[in-house]
């Protein structure tokens, strides 16, 4: 009896993870991302299976790599989430510098590697490639959040100097990405920075100004042939894919056929004629959504959009309750990034956005995107954790 009575009663807990280690974790957010990654794995397998078999390679070659990428991504997220989000603020300059260096390296012949018309990869030993432009997104969010809150924490609203300084700093990597011909990423970066700016509380004229600047830049770029022919073609065929059904319009047309033939419940997993017939190009990366459209139908595809919407809802919720302004701006930036990138990716799959090479966060095949998405999620979780007053971050 005495043995039992000497036991200390356990502290009441809300759930079994709410022991000290996982206190304050946003499980709805994490679970949504996790389910997206699992669905993504299945879709990647379906999209790559037949192509691999035809090439005489194991059907699960890409699946294995994809799962490996997810695990690495989750581990990275876990590590990030253990730190205080304020650490990111401290290292923002270093992350920024690293991203810029990476972007420059991409342009160096011999190191950089081009794929699908964009010079965006760094070749690593062992056949792996690395895409610095993905990391640039995180770097710019943290940097801008820092710049807009750093000097005048007490004054709440950044003044014009802060904004100009932040935009100037952001301009450098944006220009480098543009030099890689990665038009899609430039748009995502622009939209992300815009979200940070809006939420930072800057005067409205900055917001209007930025939007006008983006439109003007696009116009000038097209006039100066800064946008390459293939990008213009993509834009033209986006409006009417039948213009060039076997050339630039091919992706769009095949994607629409795949999705359109899905109906309510889809053609069944691994049995979509478009997917298994290898008609849709870049299907495991940029056009992964077409697999869901064709094989899982309206319900399966809507589930993916719902999960993304859930992630956006939870991130913006964390942003609203963030313990400080840096956290709020960083979370808003990540929300903007995920929202615009998801909209652009699914939108181009559905033929309502021009085709640019941007992956669907958590779903598309591709290490860099997967790592960065999960790391950003880790950062958001870290911000969310500190809303809970019981949390004592490991590092302050």
């Amino acid at each position: 009896m005495t043995y039992w009575s000497s036991e200390t009663p356990k502290a009441p807990s809300r759930n079994r993870f709410n022991d000290s280690f996982f206190i304050g974790y946003d499980w709805v957010l994490i679970t949504s991302a996790l389910i997206l990654s699992i669905i993504g794995s299945i879709l990647v397998y379906s999209a790559s299976k037949q192509r691999l078999i035809d090439a005489g390679i194991n059907a699960d070659f890409y699946l294995q790599r994809h799962i490996f990428n997810i695990i690495v991504g989750i581990v990275l997220a876990l590590i990030v989430s253990r730190f205080s989000f304020r650490t990111a603020r401290a290292y923002a300059i270093i992350i920024y510098a690293a991203a810029v260096i990476g972007l420059i390296l991409v342009l160096v012949p011999g190191i950089g590697k081009s794929q699908g018309g964009a010079q965006a990869w760094i070749a690593l030993p062992g056949g792996f490639t690395f895409q610095p432009s993905e990391f640039t997104k995180v770097a710019l969010i943290t940097l801008l959040a820092m710049v807009l809150t750093e000097r005048r924490e007490s004054e709440l609203v950044p003044d014009d100097r802060d904004v100009l300084f932040g935009l100037a700093l952001a301009g450098v990597p944006a220009l480098l990405v543009l030099l890689q011909n990665d038009f899609g990423t430039v748009i995502i970066i622009g939209a992300t920075l815009l979200s940070v700016l809006i939420v930072s509380g800057v005067k409205l004229r900055w917001i209007y100004g930025s939007i006008s600047a983006v439109i003007l830049a696009g116009f000038v770029a097209s006039q100066l042939n800064f946008i390459k022919d293939y990008q213009l073609k993509r834009l033209a065929t986006f409006i009417d894919p039948t213009l060039d059904p076997l050339g630039a319009g091919y992706n769009t047309l095949q994607a629409r056929i795949a999705i359109g033939s899905g109906g309510w419940f889809g053609q069944g997993l691994f049995s979509g004629p478009q997917t298994q017939g290898k008609y849709v190009p870049a299907q495991r990366t940029d056009f992964i959504f077409t697999v869901a459209g064709e094989e899982l139908g309206f319900f399966g595809s809507t589930l993916i959009i719902f999960l993304i919407a859930m992630i956006l809802y939870r991130i913006t919720k964390i942003a609203m309750n963030a313990p400080d302004r840096f956290g709020r701006l960083a979370a808003a930036g990540v929300a903007g990034w995920f929202a615009i990138q998801s909209f652009e990716n699914i939108g181009m799959n559905l033929g309502i956005m021009p085709v640019t090479g941007v992956p669907l966060p958590f779903v598309s095949y591709g290490g860099s995107s997967m790592f960065v998405s999960w790391m950003a999620l880790g950062l958001i979780v870290a911000i969310g954790r500190e809303i809970d007053d019981r949390v004592t971050p490991l590092i302050r």
């Binding site: 939420v199 509380g201 999705i259 359109g260 899905g262 017939g277 459209g293 956006l312 913006t316 929300a335």
Partner: protein
């Protein structure tokens, strides 16, 4: 200001979630609202179809003799998809093929180049079909060469030698009938495009590249029956067009058989007799430029034979016609043999038209029992109209007027009718008896024959005059004013005359004058007809007043011998004349053969047992020799056949055409001298049969002479076994 930041966050959250809802909306539109179309597109994408052409149906004569059939020929084809996978992309295979087949490498390469690609030759040399389909590069290959290729598969990867069916024209009894059977030709891109735009029904495969379709004659008119349906092999393919397997396969469906009313043996005789009439004309120093002959079953309008001159060997179309050959067929110097004179030739009908004037007169108050004056000439208006060779017969009956073909009797009738209609100042609703009777007999309109080529001709009456003036008066009036300066330089007299005509035409050309009325009453003037129209008109007189639409085809049969469709006779019109009038005309035509212009050619013919009703015609054409006509039907007491034969620039009707018609009747009825033996009739069983031929299990028809043809002593047909390899 913390609130401002939160409000803005809420706004962009709403924007983000709206973007997601937009995506769901678009997804709904694509997958649910318009999904059907995409499912179809998806199926098209993943499958390729290979077509096996069907065997075209046979064309048989009325007792089953094949007049158009198929024969097997060895064709060497190349599958380019296999060729491209060889080490040197097929270069060595092409070299070997060139040596084995004795054709140039360049030609083989041209054949294998898809149309529309860089450096491709024009069709039909380039390949316009599917790239999945083997491309034929040589036909009529000898069996030895085919064997050589097939036994050395390793040397000839992707090359195959197959027996395929091509059109053959056996020409039984040396029959020609080129204009009846017509010909086939390759389908054009325009037709394929047109078909795409018009759409085809779901169960129809439609025209494919490299198909042949009927271009003329029965081949064209009955093309949809003869063509059959191609076999379709559906194969699943991936994006790189690698074949993943066969999804479904249907066999080609052979074309149906078309059974004609035409009898090959009779047709052959009629062609021969038309030719004989032409020779007869030429022996009398006539040009004898062209001619036509029609034999029709008066009881139903069935065409038993229809010949035209000049003609050409229908086999010229087999395997494709050359430009030089086509030039010869369409050259006016050769008389344009492509044109069928029977259905497309327009001629002045002359005296054989008088039956129509007689009918019009009888139905408009002229007494059939009265006596009419037949002077040698007659003055109407300011002009004098003469009888043929200016012979007069005095007071005669209408029947006699027909027998001796007295023009002046009909002039007077026409003039009287014209005056009744008001003459030069026509009454409100002129009766125009002769003109309207012509329409009733089927002149001025298409007969409705089941052949694609036919002209309508014209009746030179009041309507025609008015229309013609409407079309031309501007030119006439301009000439009336300005004259003919270009003619004046050469021949001032002629220019003056031409200007006078122009002035007259300009001011008077719309008028239907006495001269016009008189002219058309004897089948002269502006009226022109086809020989077929006259045959149908005489058939109508023979059968009691029914103008039938002529029918070349009796029935459509399936390859297994069952009847697919019987072509029933179709009435075009009933003659608006009394029985009495009809009987009178019939009697007149019958006595013409006994005591009229039709008598001389029928001397010695057993008219007492087989009376023949005839009418001669000798048409006058300005600046040309006369047109020889002979229209008839027999037996006059129980009519079965109507025969019309004519020769342009051929002399008189009785001298040139009639002897040939007599020969045709002798063969139809089995007349040998003065004996009549229906068993020796040129028609099997002595009469046209409504029975359909039987088709044997091997798909070939049974017909009277089949035993002679299958006699082992005759040349053996190659049995297609060793050559068929896959």
């Amino acid at each position: 200001m913390q609130d401002k930041s939160v409000i803005r966050l809420k706004i962009i959250r709403v924007i983000f979630l709206s973007l997601m809802i937009t995506l769901v909306g678009r997804l709904f539109f694509l997958q649910i609202s318009t999904g059907e179309n995409f499912v179809k597109a998806s199926q098209r994408n993943a499958f390729r179809e290979i077509y096996t052409p069907p065997v075209r149906g046979l064309i048989l004569d009325q007792v089953g003799r094949p007049v158009v059939s198929n024969k097997s020929t060895l064709v060497v084809s190349v599958n380019t998809r296999i060729l491209e996978n060889t080490e040197d992309k097929g270069a060595s295979v092409i070299t070997r093929l060139s040596q084995t087949l004795q054709i140039s490498e360049i030609y083989i390469r041209d054949r294998l180049t898809p149309c529309g690609t860089k450096g491709a030759k024009r069709p039909p040399i380039c390949w316009s079909g599917s790239l999945f389909q083997p491309i034929p590069i040589a036909k009529d290959v000898s069996r030895l060469v085919a064997l050589e290729i097939m036994e050395q598969r390793t040397l000839f990867p992707g090359v195959s030698a197959e027996l395929i069916a091509v059109r053959d024209i056996p020409r039984p009894f040396d029959v020609n009938m080129a204009h009846i059977i017509g010909y086939v030709g390759p389908v054009t891109d325009v037709e394929i495009e047109k078909q795409k735009q018009e759409g085809i029904s779901a169960d129809d495969i439609g025209l494919q590249n490299n198909d042949s379709i009927g271009r003329s004659g029965v081949e064209r008119f009955y093309d949809s029956y003869l063509r059959g349906k191609p076999g379709v092999k559906v194969m699943a393919v991936d994006k790189a067009a690698n074949i993943k397997g066969v999804v479904s396969e249907t066999d080609p469906e052979s074309g149906k058989y078309v059974v004609l009313n035409v009898d090959a043996k009779l047709q052959s005789l009629v062609e021969e007799q038309l030719s004989a009439a032409i020779d007869r004309a030429r022996s009398k120093n006539y040009v004898g430029e062209s001619g036509a002959a029609v034999v029709v079953d008066v009881k139903n309008g069935n065409i038993l034979a229809m010949a035209t001159y000049p003609s050409y060997d229908p086999r010229i179309w087999l395997g494709g016609i050359t430009n030089e050959q086509f030039e010869l067929l369409s050259n006016p110097k050769n008389g344009i043999p492509l044109i069928s004179r029977a259905t497309q030739g327009l001629f002045v009908p002359a005296s054989i038209y008088k039956v129509i004037t007689t009918a019009a007169a009888a139905e408009n108050g002229f007494d059939l029992n009265a006596i009419y004056q037949c002077p040698p000439q007659m003055e109407i208006g300011t002009r004098v109209f003469r009888n043929y060779e200016s012979i007069g017969f005095g007071p005669i009956t209408l029947q006699r007027a027909i027998e001796v073909s007295c023009d002046t009797v009909f002039y007077d009738i026409a003039n009287t009718l014209w005056l009744r209609d008001g003459g030069l100042n026509p009454i409100d609703k002129p009766v125009d008896a002769v003109e309207n009777m012509s329409f009733a007999f089927g002149l001025g309109s298409k007969t409705g024959i089941d052949l694609p080529e036919e002209v309508r001709g014209r009746v030179g009456g009041r309507i025609f005059k008015r229309n013609f003036w409407d079309k031309n008066h501007e030119v006439w009036c301009e000439r009336a004013e300005k004259g003919y300066p270009e003619v004046e330089a050469v021949d001032p007299e002629r220019a003056k005359m031409l200007q006078k005509f122009a002035t007259e035409n300009c001011t008077e050309g719309m008028r239907f004058r006495a001269g016009d009325a008189v002219n058309i009453s004897i089948g002269q003037g502006d009226t022109v007809v086809t020989p077929l129209q006259m045959a149908m008109a005489y058939a109508a007189i023979a059968n009691g007043g029914t103008v039938y639409e002529p029918r070349v085809v009796k029935a459509i049969m399936n390859a297994d011998g069952s009847v697919a469709e019987k072509i029933e006779p179709k009435v075009k019109n009933k003659l608006p004349i009394s029985n009495e009038t009809l009987k009178y005309i019939q009697k007149s035509l019958e006595t013409t053969t006994i005591s009229g212009t039709g008598a001389p050619p029928f001397v010695g013919f057993p008219l007492s047992r087989i009376p023949v009703a005839t009418k001669t015609g000798t048409g006058e054409v300005l600046g040309k020799q006369s047109t020889s006509w002979f229209a008839s039907y027999a037996p006059a007491n129980n009519p079965q056949y109507a025969v019309v034969l004519m020769v342009a620039q051929g002399g008189t009707g009785s001298g040139t055409s009639a002897p040939s018609v007599r020969r045709i009747y002798e063969e139809l009825f089995g007349i040998r001298g003065s004996t009549i033996d229906p068993a020796t009739s040129i028609l099997e069983g002595g009469a046209p049969t409504s029975k359909l031929p039987t088709i044997r299990t091997d798909g070939l028809p049974d017909y009277p002479e089949i035993d002679e043809l299958l006699n082992p002593t005759s040349s053996p047909s190659p049995t297609p076994t060793s050559g068929t390899t896959r």
